[in-house]
Symmetry: C2
Subunit: 162 residues, 2 copies
Amino acid sequence: MILKSQVEWALHCCAILAGLPAGRYLSTKALAEFHGLPKEYLSKALQSLSQAGLVDTTLGPSGGYRLARPPAELTFLEIVEAVEGKSRTFVCTNIRENNPCRPQGYCETSPCAVSRIMWEADEAWRAKLRSVRLSDLTEALAQEIPAELWKNSFEWVLERAG
Amino acid sequence: MILKSQVEWALHCCAILAGLPAGRYLSTKALAEFHGLPKEYLSKALQSLSQAGLVDTTLGPSGGYRLARPPAELTFLEIVEAVEGKSRTFVCTNIRENNPCRPQGYCETSPCAVSRIMWEADEAWRAKLRSVRLSDLTEALAQEIPAELWKNSFEWVLERAG
DNA sequence: TATATTAAGGATATGGAATATCCCTATTTT
DNA sequence: AAAATAGGGATATTCCATATCCTTAATATA
């Protein structure tokens, strides 16, 4: 069970978009080049963010993506779910139905204990992702990335932002 | 990102094994029949449990599987990891290395903030699974399964346990 | 001792999802 | 008018989960 690489891409792209001056856009081409990713396929991940309403887009030259909300109002969970989907990581196929001792026509009303527990773990994962804001990420990155590299990256992006 | 169905199978099988009298074994055939699962493929899941040391096995007629430890000393995490593996659900491909502004020969020392956060969420999931014991599951099942069905299932299993 | 039954595991097939590329369309800036 | 962009459909490829089959070694039972 491994998350799509598009999740990683989307998070890094959002971190870049979080640094854009208000009202500016950054294109798929620039984001793909900056991260060394296939442009066409990265585009699919960005479309997922767009469909989830996390980013705004505009067409034409100088077009591209920008955050739909301030970084402090965007959670990791929203970004992850936009790309990965909202369905639970544990799927209950209700195998208890196959119990040969089960009476004819007997029908379970509630989810079995196994799925309840697995879903609680799933929720613990989501709760953690929900508690982290995109602004938390950019603050951490600002700490760990050398000032010179941080500054150069910022300028690189600004040169390409429409 | 969805867990293998073998995870569900392994958990249900462990719940059955937890009800076995001391020293008795239950075969793949019986476990597959009870849960309505393909015997050969379920066998792979049980082999995973065996390789992880969670169950003991014995060969020959009246052979099969039994828990290697009391249900109170077996966690959900151990069972899930035996089948699903221990690797993290988020894989960092270190795309920051592709930053065009990155100096020649520059080498990041620690994991990036994105992966740290994703791994914390992964750990929250594992922590929850680690906190639930197999005995917790059997207690919950004893509560929610009708007494008659519970009793019949127990007898069904005992008739087939070697 | 012979036979039946079992776990273990190798080999192989199948289906679906993730990954990736290509191309067309409508829109918007220049 | 031309160039650049997001959106999205179509398709190919790769990989993994799922599934089946078969052989081998060990063990209980008749």
